[in-house]
Symmetry: D2
Subunit: 141 residues, 4 copies
């Protein structure tokens, strides 16, 4: 995966590691990476002007169809992390986000990830990715 | 708090500690106690014949108005825990559950807790505790 | 509980609600309040110059002995929340933090809380609250 | 992925969906699948006679190097789920688990997943998968 550094289509969000996110191996538990990626996705959408909270109120639900994370180095309590998020692929009925999680101080790459989504309506039927959302996205990488 | 042992109005549920529930202090993080107490409450209601999933489908929502947990001894990955749940107080518009969490093997008392609830309708208004639920509850302690 | 607004001994930290923190009642699950209070405590200690990550490396562990939260109003995905944290009581062997969680935009009070702690050494024995930590704390309210 | 049904090398564990695991889309949040897969792995190892809690006490740490989950159908509060776990690949320094999560009542396949692991010693160095663990594993699929 190509480094996301200084790409204008990449949105960054930075926050401290929470104590509750560690496990007895003294590092962040990998389930938190999935939550952090979602948090990166939320920030990505807010910065695009397509706040996901509003998208849901408009009746569109971006359901996760797959998620993956590759753990390259551990994150620790006491560190701050930056999640970099971008649109990896946009098709009529499928949207893929890419992620990098780095140590906010050192820039060390900790995790790379990907999530795939479909858009559902209020009845749970798969629809096209709505124009409201599509038009807000930056051009693909 | 009086011991809940062998009280017929107390419902028990037992499960293994999850690795993800530990933190870097090598013990279960205290936020998990709140989740375990809710799991005890779910099992309590299933065994009373008032499955909470059905109660929500009928339009009644048992919202938490306060929760407290006293940590007496740590729980560890590799142990099984038992949550004992009972109705501590039932009023027309307020319901309080009491809890004890013990080590399932040794019986050692780990946590005592309490949660208070009100019942909301679909519009979010506080209602009386519904008859559907009230009639299912065992007599109070 | 007295309002914490504009008290110099109160430390504030603000962050967006995470989607993963919601539950099917369409609001934040109350176990997240416990995590947010801990996050408030972490920020409190960082701002006092007594970063808890360093305190643990020095062999002092601030274990939770009790926690309580009173839920006054729900938090929602799409909102930002501010956790206000202060030292409620400091004794030789016991430390109590107080918390308020408010909607960062409207200031509406959502949750009030409290957590009690003892200090453990590497062998798990209760010790006095260490001088390292005590001297960093602001004067009590 | 081949169905794991009635394969003797597959270990099953069944538990109720927790309310805290749902999100405002009214289904289980996908980060919980990662926790459930870990719970499947824990049960797998307990049934093999290689309890992971003991393996850690012996100084071996099974770190996650990657995880993936494919969400085929949602899980709901009120349902019970079964996690099926097996060893997908065992190499000298790498271990891969495969998973299926099904609705325990209907058998409907909800999630397929995979996790890769390396073994670390107390100093965090990658070691061979320890004999203690290797000998406990059933033959590979």
């Amino acid at each position: 995966m190509q480094s996301a550094i200084s790409d204008p289509r990449v949105v960054e969000t930075t926050f401290p590691v929470r104590y509750a996110e560690t496990d007895q191996m003294q590092v962040v538990h990998h389930a938190s990476y999935v939550v952090w990626m979602e948090e990166g996705r939320s920030e990505f959408m807010r910065q695009c002007g397509a706040d996901y909270a509003e998208i849901e109120r408009a009746g569109h639900f971006l359901a996760v169809t797959s998620v993956q994370a590759r753990d390259l180095a551990p994150a620790h309590y006491g560190e701050r992390v930056t999640v970099r998020t971008w649109v990896d692929e946009l098709r009529s009925r499928r949207l893929t986000f890419g992620y990098e999680i780095v140590n906010a101080e050192t820039g060390a790459l900790l995790v790379t990830g990907k999530s795939e989504h479909v858009c559902l309506d209020r009845q749970g039927r798969v629809t096209r990715i709505p124009e409201l959302f599509r038009s807000a996205l930056p051009p693909q990488r």
